[in-house]
Amino acid sequence: MKLLRNLVDSGRKLYHEPGSKLHGVWPLLDAFETFLFTPSTPTGKSGPHVRDYIDLKRTMWTVIVALVPCLLWSFYNNGYQHFLAISQFVANGGANPYLAQGEVGAAIAPQIGWLQWVIFGSSYAPDVAAPGFGDILVFGLQQMLPILFVSYFVGLNIEGLFAVLRKEEISEGYLVTGILIALIVPASVPLWQLALAVAFAVVLAKEVFGGTGTNIFNVALIARAFLFFAYPAQMSGDFVWVAGNGSQNLIDGYSGPTALAAAAQTKLEANHLASEGIPDLVGSAAEAVEAAGYTFWDLFIGLVPGSAGETSALCALIGALVLVVTGVGSWRTMVAGVIGLVSASLLMMVTAGGLDGIGGLPPHYHLVMGGFAFGIVFMATDPVSSPETDRSKWIYGFLIGVTTVLVRAVNPAYPEGVMLAILLLNAFAPTIDHFVIAANIRRRKARFG
């Protein structure tokens, strides 16, 4: 450690003082130095002379720790869904992509991913019906590691570039954004699209506003929204949620609707049947979800297809605990979001007749389906894009919950509502704050009659 410290101290001489050899890129070197050793910068002469040990690095690190369960779950679940899909595909008469296909001589070689090849060799042929834990994990890592790498590589380089241009220290915000982006995209996302989305989001949603602390919208959600609107084919529908090997999805033709999509189907089918004069026999949305193969507990644990790391309400709950206990995430936003979601979905159940589509879905399903749990815990609580007073956090969280249900139930094309709900409320956050602050000003004036 002493050696490392000496190395860092002598490296510091190369860039720290203006005019030194590498001073032009000091923000990059400073970021590396303070990553290793806390800085010894003294406080000013007029005080306060002592400071809290917390800094933005630790704040962001705390969020990353809170995200670890979701991250680990993404490693497991993406592999699990992959093998589940293949085994169902094979059971229905499809070809196993891990086995050579066709006649001898004209055979299509089996398609094996890069990490599978590295770890298991070229003749890897897993038992798709009963894959081992290693099979599952290796596939999950094989999908997630490149996504994480691309997300961080592109994002951090842009952050570094802007920090050098602005001559200020690199802010740690992207350390969290980088993981968030990786967890809210489908694991099958083409990496070039992801790179574009990251670049778009970091530059246009953050750096043009002045960097971490000054952006209006949650950067990770902007990246997700960019993908959704720019590449809808790769980002929505029933075919994107389970990843396969290779550029061509080898389990093409496998339809893995998310639970939300399944629930949304009930309405469409009901209408269809009604138009043919057949009585409505579809059943409730909750039954439709179960019929698609998802029990409530599957949804809670997250053993369902969906975005790479946001399927598990359980993991989000563990993360919420970390954020609330450390005080880094606002419990008010989270609680208000749940209240909003529950009350809106109850209202929807009562007024929408209780049967059709997602509107008929009971609240406890809404809580565990799609990305709501993940979104309200990790993205609605983003301190920069959410409003800042305690009272506005209640309003903001509540409205996110309500809007999530509205988007899910009313929008037939895209049943995942939490992303749009949070982005919408990001836009309204300053307005909510404005009214709360105006009330504060009135109250303070009223003290004197």
Binding site: M1, L4, R5, D30, T34, L36, F37, T38, P39, S40, T41, P42, T43, G44, K45, S46, G47, P48, H49, V50, R51, D52, Y53, I54, D55, L56, K57, R58, T59, W61, T62, E169, S171, E172, G173, G210, G211, T212, G213, T214, V325, T326, G327, V328, S330, P383, V384, E388, T389, D390, D433, I437, N440, I441, R443, R444, K445, R447, F448
Partner: protein, 451 residues
Amino acid sequence: MTTHTIRKGFDIKIAGPAEAKIESCPEPVLVGLQPAEFLGIRPKLLVKEGQEVATGEPVLLDKSRPGVQLVAPATGRVTKVVLGQRRFPDRIEITPAAEDRFFDGPRLDADRLDGTSRDEVIEALEGAGLWPYLRQRPLGKIAAKDRVPTAIYVNGMDTEPLAADPAVAVQGRGEALQAGIRLLRRLTDGPVYLTTATGEQPAEFRGLQGVEQHQFSGPHPAGLVGTHIAQIAPLGPDQVVWYLKAQEAATLGEWVISGRYPTHRVVAVAGSAAPQRRYCKVRQGAALLTLTGGQPLGGDLRVINGTVLSGVASDAMGVLGFYAQTVSIIPEGSDSRELFGWARPQFGRLSASRAVFSWLMPKDRYELDARLNGGPRHIVNIGQWERMTPLDIHPTFLVRAVQAGDLEEAINLGLLEVTEEDVALCTFADPCKIEVGQIIREGLDLYETEG
């Protein structure tokens, strides 16, 4: 008597409190005045190097506040005037003689005090060089005599880290304190408040005539006058209140009783790097070396005139500040750097946040050094400022209004209710290491020039 409970805030449990016994310090070999500690002062020197001065003799006056002057705290020769930028006198140094010879300044008749007019009292206080002890809110500067304060606050408590306990500082000075309060009563038509900590009151505070006593409990800033004003009687538009500390009121009283310039103050010497931690009775303006045993302090230390929250770091030749009742000595820590300090749980580091895990195994006192513990960032509001602020203001929005230069909004948001010391905890607890106090002062300066 009313009791107020403050819930928001934080006690910085820093190591090295002063032992609650008062010792007499040796007479200093050097005393001095440092005009820069009076915000907004435009000093005009009345003495030259080499000139002899008597105790209580005017040394400089403030051109920006006619009538306000500073006087020599000892008899002796002006040995040096240290000039700083734009010939601003950074320090006027006096080498004291063995005996005090008192300047024949204005005085008040202690027996006829209650019949003395307000103007007479003001003029006498100014002439005696004691006027600067009266400060005002808004602004937190020397009181402007042309406005009658709606109240005067005498602060008998201090919750800043390691701060001198006013109850110790006024020990045995009950009569002087009472005289000081009689004096203050001449300056306002409103009440004189004495604010103290809850619990058993020292004899000097019990039975004081002419004050309305309020007690405060809770974490810092429960002991700040800004908190007291907001709790007892928030400032209305165009209202002004004056404030001073209990010991300062006792000092005024001593001047009334004796008719001579009161030369000595009780000062707490504290902090983990202080050689001896105790209360000292020491001459005002004494070289800080007097308080540290006469030897220059070796090593990587920071000597602070005041507390670690609101004091000012002093150089080796510094003198005791006019307002300082605490001298804090802490390590600079300029060579301390922790490997992956931001990622480790840090069970032994003080923090107001639970993201530093010292809350799992709390200690009574923490060693703190004078490091920023991070790098400056834009505001990322995880609610730390709000958790530190018991006032009904939104510090983040106030700071943004000041940064945007929107004075009207800033005033609406409570700019005039705060000074640096009220937001010092925000600066302490901020993960983004923003100097909140400096921004607030910029806003107050803007108010003075434009408002």
